[in-house]
């Protein structure tokens, strides 16, 4: 009797857990299928090749080239800035502070906490910064907010990669008389390069998909991005605004834009994943 109860309990929970896993996967599938099925019919060449014309938000002709280019410029700029600021920090944590350092552990905790701060707060903070700097809603302001948003992701990602670099490599470099700076920038970076690149791509994807941080800071415009100090359109906001209109034709475009954004991000993260797999083997272990 005791034995059979154990068996029943085991089977019950195993089934429950399998059901949960299947459900999670079905939800993922459901989301992707919904976006695909509703997006594809509305997607055409005009969507991606032209800017909004007069009456675009009433259902007239035009496309979202402004948002696509705006998102690309903004995210590339922000990613570059976050990379330049983040790489030194990631190197510092591992190369200058040991693995057991308390300071490094503290900094990592702070970065993890920063990671969890909602993007709308980054948007609000970016807005405060812009007021202090005398900027108005612009490409530069958006870059600033998104750069801050992806900085913790960038640092922690690169940090994890750099920590995987084997200890022997440092020792060999030191034994040859290299300073810590030289070791960090000439040996460690080279070793961790594929991982660093994939982290950059992951951060890029995150920055591209975020809407709440650019809401205050980048503004929105129907024109193509022309200058750092002009407002710029972004894809997530384009989706948001188009969906907010009462016209079905415009809402259709929101679905197409959502499909476009999803594809962009999936491709970016796919490449990142492929890079990790492809190059992880060639690195010295």
């Amino acid at each position: 009797m005791r034995w059979s109860w154990r068996k029943v309990e085991e089977t019950f929970f195993r089934c429950l857990m399998m059901a949960a896993v299947v459900l999670v996967m079905l939800i993922l599938l459901w989301i992707l299928l919904t976006i695909l099925v509703r997006g594809v019919p509305a997607l055409d060449w005009e969507m991606v090749s032209r800017t909004p014309r007069g009456g675009f938000y009433l259902g007239k002709s035009g496309g979202i080239l402004n948002a696509i280019l705006g998102s690309l410029f903004l995210t590339l700029g922000a990613t570059l800035a976050a990379f330049v600021a983040g790489l030194p920090v990631a190197l510092y944590l591992t190369c200058f502070r040991g693995d057991s350092s308390r300071t490094a552990a503290f900094i990592r905790t702070v970065l993890d906490v920063l990671w969890g701060i909602p993007s709308i707060v980054y948007g609000a903070f970016g807005f405060v910064l812009m007021i202090w700097l005398g900027l108005r809603a612009s490409l530069l302001g958006g870059m600033l907010a998104v750069a801050l948003l992806i900085l913790p992701i960038m640092i922690r990602g690169m940090d994890e990669v750099i920590r995987l670099v084997p200890r022997e490599l440092y020792d060999s470099a030191y034994a040859l008389g290299a300073t810590k700076m030289e070791t960090a920038f000439r040996v460690v970076i080279r070793q961790a390069a594929p991982g660093i690149l994939s982290t950059v791509l992951i951060a890029l994807g995150r920055g591209m998909g975020d809407a709440a941080s650019v809401l205050f800071t980048a503004g929105y415009t129907d024109a193509l991005p022309s200058s750092l100090l002009e407002p710029v359109a972004t894809l997530p906001l384009a989706i948001f605004f188009q969906l907010g209109t009462p016209f079905p034709e415009v809402q259709e475009r929101a679905y197409a834009s959502a499909l476009l954004l999803t594809i962009l991000i999936l491709v970016i993260s796919g490449v990142a994943r492929w890079l990790i797999r492809r190059y992880a083997r060639q690195v010295v272990r």
Binding site: I35, P88, V113
Partner: protein
């Protein structure tokens, strides 16, 4: 030559240290910046009375945050109720039952779920969840709703927090020492008994932390919620009522905030409240996770 390299080293080290310090100070700077912007309002009105007041009339200078706080709590609470069991069951299966191959297959899929932008979740919510709640769920309970309500927002949010909770829980459970499992199994315990009495018990603080992280994530989520929650500034009475969560308040009103006196301060204070709550919860859970890591390594 040697001297130059030594200088390079010294300058470089300080530079790196400086940049690192800057990043760490960022958190403090955020609090400071938002506090400075909301200071005028904080001087005029009592923070506590604003938190419990139900009147949100910016034009008359009345800023009561209670409907928004209540809305956030309803939506987030509902999301956690839905997400936690599902996430824990999934994480347990992937960590304890699934073969290595299945696990390596599923992990990228869960990261994929985490990588989908929140606007896309919002679009999905509007297309599927909202009609579902309006046409199927609400009539089943004998209620009428537009579909843009707490239940819809909770459902969408739950899906969005799933990957966070699963990811962290999985890491925590996989970090439980292998020997413990083997001892339990060798004493004749079944798989589930081992999971229940050994792994889950050992991983409990970490699992708690994982869920708190998920909560913090859901609490600050903006774009998806704004699209499905309905945004009516009233204290909700049931899950079929619309809600107006705090992040949605900030995002919806940035356009007019410069034209009404103290409105900008009120919105910045809302951001500060959000930041405070999320910071509190995530610092707590990170500390727990870090202690566990140090103990098990």
């Amino acid at each position: 030559m040697l001297r130059w390299r030594q200088w390079q080293e010294r300058i470089g080290r300080h530079l790196l240290q400086g940049i690192t310090l800057g990043c760490v100070l960022l958190a403090g700077l955020m609090i400071l910046g938002l506090l400075l912007k909301s200071w005028p309002l904080l001087q005029e009105q009592n923070l506590w009375s604003m938190l419990v007041s139900r009147d949100w009339r910016p034009h008359r200078g009345e800023f009561g945050y209670f409907p928004f706080l209540a809305g956030t709590l309803w939506v987030t609470g509902g999301a956690m109720l839905l997400a936690v069991p599902l996430a824990l069951l999934t994480a347990t299966y992937l960590s304890e039952y699934a073969s290595h191959r299945v696990c390596t297959l599923f992990k990228p899929l869960i990261d994929l779920l985490a990588g989908i932008p929140s606007v896309v979740y919002g679009v999905w919510g509007v297309l599927t969840i909202v009609p579902l709640v309006k046409n199927e769920v609400a009539p089943w309970f004998g209620r009428f709703t537009s579909g843009y309500c707490i239940l819809s927002a909770s459902l969408v949010l739950a899906v969005m927090t799933l990957p966070v909770i699963i990811h962290v829980s999985l890491e925590v459970m996989q970090a439980v020492p292998r020997e413990l499992r083997e001892s339990a199994l060798s004493l004749g315990a079944t798989r589930w008994q081992t999971v229940k009495k050994v792994v889950l018990r050992k991983a409990l603080p970490g699992l708690l932390a994982a869920n708190v992280l998920g909560f913090a994530r859901a609490f600050g989520e903006t774009m998806a919620v704004i699209m499905v929650a309905g945004n009516v500034a009233r204290v909700p009475g049931s899950i079929f009522d619309p809600a107006y969560p705090l992040p949605a308040l900030i995002a919806n009103n940035y356009g007019e905030m410069m034209s009404v006196p103290r409105y900008d301060a009120a919105l910045m204070l809302a951001a500060l409240l959000l930041l405070g709550v999320v910071l509190g919860f995530s610092v707590l859970s990170r500390l727990v996770l870090q202690r566990l890591q140090r103990r098990w390594r």
